[in-house]
Symmetry: none
Subunit: 273 residues, 2 copies
DNA sequence: CGCCGTGTGAAAAGGCTGTGAAACGCGTCT
DNA sequence: AGACGCGTTTCACAGCCTTTTCACACGGCG
């Protein structure tokens, strides 16, 4: 996510000036990028910030709004580390917060160093379980996706993706092999709930496909799952499917052997049927 | 990993009997599988236990051994959730533990419910970040049902189920062994009340049967209960019941032996009588 | 034997997606 | 201010896939 390795991008939602001051100093010293938000921020804004973690005092948002926020934000941004941090919390509150999606809950007063260690632990937990180096440029098929550039490339040439196009591609590529529902895609890219009948996802998929194919024909990346959504999976385009009437069994087509994950996944796609 | 969904497998390394007793009671109540280890256990033994999480009091292992253990085990089993839990810890100790690889650090005395909530949070985060790692792709008979793909497979080959077909199969398979009434099936798949005389469920059961049998003949999965509904139960097809004139006694037919649960249930079904 | 519930095949209806283009919002340049 | 370029959103329509409906055959059950 972040440019440098070891540098994290964090947002802090709190009004506790003393806490903010002390924590801010430490964050500066560590060289982390951070931003303080006085109160709640629009969800799509938080999505756009590409955060690694979020430190939030639920009580700063109001008695009920805090819980709603935890619930909503954890659903909207899976992968974001959420550390709740409040004064005078009860066991029941902490349990509720953790169950709603918080990854950790620290009781104030607390040492900023410990808060940072817990942020690191939460973020590390996420990265560690992704064997693929997540911080490096993601390379799939002929595509190279650089999050530090907000751009994708093929053979070093830029695809000229717009911001939304890039974010859509990023979301899809990070969940490569997995089928994502339209609603979830919309929620994670646009940051709010999709209205019924909204075709934005479809339209952007089309634009993405066009730009990708222009630079990397010979590969199919985004597959449609009828009635569900889309799946990102780079695979060479199947030439046998083209209208060549002559039986081409001589040239061994890439028959997906059982047990081969790529092969399995390939057959799910709509165009296979 | 674990047999049932929602069930976690945990090991606790501690000597604090009071803590162990209280926590154990809660773990039992929640139905989690857990094991208490008095002291350190060989690393390979821990690996073999296929744990979701590990609760450990570093001080129970000795002044220095605790740190070494955290370091070693977190490196050895990335993906394992590690919750440290000790009395009278200092900020420096907690920071050190978290940096060494612990995912969370709870200070005793603590409420077992909070410990469990924190375990859940740690495991949840690990799972969410590795979607492809099967969080339980429900395997029954020769069938493999993957909800992250909205598809079912036999020997790695997709059944090409449509969305409704998949949802029907999922509902049935999750209630494997018990008979579901048409009304309930309809309500859970379609989301609203079934109109009188609606044959949709029947039609989709037929489609499902066709697609399943095409890929997995030799097994019966969906059984009809006259006047009631359907029951999902994978069982080898009974060749003796077939009116096949050619004597196939050479190939040993899988006779459902008495005492076998699947066999017993089988006799309830319509076609058996 | 007759009734009712279920299996089956196919036609009809409905919904979903691909696609091109127009409309809109926004910031920049002249 | 107005024109312009750019990116995003909305719209309409065609084509295809899915779902629903229907008619009929079959089989259990009283």
């Amino acid at each position: 996510m972040s440019a440098r390795r070891g540098t994290l991008r964090v947002a802090v939602i709190d009004r506790d000036t003393a806490f903010l001051k002390v924590l801010g100093k430490r964050l500066d010293a560590a060289g982390w990028e951070y931003r303080v938000l006085p109160g709640g921020a629009p969800a799509d804004e938080l999505v756009a910030m590409k955060l690694n973690a979020l430190v939030v005092d639920p009580t700063a948002l109001g008695p009920e709004e805090g819980w709603e926020f935890l619930d909503r934000i954890s659903g909207l941004m899976p992968g974001l580390g959420i550390i709740a941090c409040s004064t005078n919390s009860t066991v029941a509150q902490r349990v509720r917060g953790l169950r709603l999606g918080a990854d950790d809950w620290v009781s104030k007063p607390c040492h900023p160093e410990e808060v940072m260690a817990r942020i690191e632990a939460v973020v590390r937990r996420r990265r560690r379980s992704r064997p693929e180096a997540e911080q490096g440029p993601l390379v799939v098929g002929e595509l190279e996706i650089r999050d530090d550039q907000f751009q994708a490339y093929v053979a070093g040439r830029t695809l000229d993706l717009t911001r939304r196009e890039f974010e859509l591609l990023e979301i899809l590529a990070e969940a490569a092999g997995q089928v994502l529902e339209r609603d979830e895609i919309y929620r994670r890219v646009w940051g709010y709930e999709m209205a019924h009948g909204d075709r934005s996802v479809d339209v952007f998929v089309r634009k993405l496909r066009a730009k990708i194919q222009k630079h990397s024909p010979g590969w199919d990346y985004i597959h449609t799952h009828f009635g569900i959504g889309y799946r990102f999976d780079p695979e060479p385009v199947d030439r046998t499917a083209m209208g060549a009437p002559e039986a081409p069994e001589a040239l061994s087509e890439p028959e997906p052997e059982p047990g081969d994950l790529a092969g399995e996944l390939a057959e799910i796609s709509t165009e296979t049927s």
